[in-house]
Amino acid sequence: MTGWEVFLQQLIIGLSNGMIIALIALGYTMVYGIIELINFAHGDLFMLGCFAALTVVSLTGDLPVWLVLLLLLVLTPVFCGGLNWLVDRLAYRHLRDATKLAPLVSAIGVSFVFLNLGLFWGGLPLKVFGFGKAAAAPKDFPTLVSNANLLGNSNVEFTTKDLLVLVITVPLMVGLTLFVKQTRAGKAMRAVAQDRLAAQLMGIDANRVIGQTFLLGGGLAGVASVVAALYNNTIYFQMGYRAGMDAFTAAVLGGIGSLPGAVLGGLCIGLARALSDQYIATRWTNVMVFAILILVLVFRPSGLLGAKHREKV
């Protein structure tokens, strides 16, 4: 492989991973946009989505692949979205008027509960769930999509999996943009995000809209977990933490609260990770992502596409 081919290959890997990160980052940014809460549990929600996807695959293994994929793409987001909504209903809603610290600490608690659920889920005594390994060990996710190179015999690999990532995520992001821009519910969401009191005075039930945002963000995390599981073929119960950090960095890089920003940030982080893996060292990649986060926050705290924040006096 020539140097350029290596570079191109890393670009492809980076973009695919970046799209997955972007999906998770969208969930962060939407929730932050509407209630200024860093939904700490979002990464672990993504992890639970992966386990849900594994369960769906285990139960429907005999069906044709396209049907399994379809089921995955329907059931997992529904599960994640519902769970996210439920958490908002039970935990965060009661803390709307409290100091900022309270919901954040609550979210950390939720993340821990999710982590434990993931551990237990992996240890379910059924063969199909745990694949017979110890609870904490990484689980194999069956290869539903082949690893075949679509570019023929070229040194650069663009596999069916990469295509799958694009085919699922790009329409989803377009759809999300349209939803937020065009529909009544989307407009209500933007209104609540910009000025909750004014939105309430328009007769918008702010709590309901916030619930819908959690539902939607969770759903996106669900799709992300299906895509990630299919792409990486391995899941483990601590994976949400890392994914959450990457996605949060992406959301901040893009400007938290901005949807296109989250996608842009996700792509940047994906690329940065891939390039760092190749040209620096894999073991230092996490440190690189952290360094990016610090640099962005020092030089441009509002992110690439974010709006400036001004305190009212």
Binding site: K187, A191, D195
Partner: protein, 232 residues
């Protein structure tokens, strides 16, 4: 139409309102005057259900509405133009207006036309973002947005705030026109003269209590009112 009976409300440990009693009859413009910090905005926010009402009764068209959720109160027909306009700066003017009619599904297009007829300045700019408008235009947008809900009662919180004198005159003309089309109005103002000229009745609020209640004509000539607003 609207009646407040001995309302107590406030933030934290402090009661800002210490027993407010007032009534608004159908078709009227009633104004509430008072210095900053007297509790005018708190009164409106308590009617709209944003502030919890700690004690007392609020009835609207005979039904008690104290401590209902905000969106329920809007559904009953009370719209508010909040202090400082609070339009959605990153939504277009059309979207701002459409959100005003969030509770309804019928004939939004027709209402949109009517609102734009009332405020021709907005018509040319329906695609522009709300934040790009000038202060006066934003105020018009806020009023138009509230009207989109087809309210029976319109609560206006300091519509003249931060506006040039000419614009203030314009806004007050519009308020009067809205009233003549059949909407009851409760108006909170610092611009006493203007408010009293279009209102039928007025209340004067001081440190959370009603200290004066009279017809607008009488209030204009009231020595105490003149003194506190004109400095003697």
């Amino acid at each position: 139409m609207l009646a407040l009976e001995n309302i107590h409300a406030g933030y934290g440990p402090i009661d800002v309102l210490k027993g407010i009693t007032l009534r608004v009859n159908e078709g009227e413009i009633v104004t509430v005057l008072g210095a900053n910090g007297a509790g005018k905005s708190t009164t409106l926010m308590t009617i709209a259900g944003v502030n919890p009402c700690r004690q007392g009764m609020i009835t609207f068209a005979g039904e008690p509405i104290a401590n209902l959720p905000v969106h329920e109160i809007v559904r009953l027909g009370i719209s508010q133009v909040p202090e400082g306009r609070r339009i959605f700066p990153r939504l277009t003017i059309r979207e701002n207006l459409e959100l005003g009619a969030f509770q309804r599904n019928d004939d939004i297009a027709g209402d949109l036309e009517r609102a734009l007829d009332l405020f021709p300045i907005l018509r040319e700019r329906t695609g522009q973002l709300g934040g790009t408008l000038s202060g006066g235009e934003q105020q018009m947008l806020a009023i138009a947005r509230a009207l989109m809900a087809r309210p029976k009662l319109l609560l206006l919180d300091e519509p003249s705030l931060g506006l040039a004198p000419l614009m203030v005159v314009k806004i007050f003309e519009i308020i009067r026109a809205i009233n003549q089309q059949g909407t009851t109005i409760l108006l909170v103002e610092q611009n006493a003269n203007m408010a009293l000229h279009i209102a039928q009745r007025g209340y004067v609020l001081e440190t959370g209590r009603i200290v004066l209640e009279d017809s607008a004509a009488n209030l204009i000539n009231n020595e105490q009112v003149r003194k506190s607003y004109l400095g003697g």
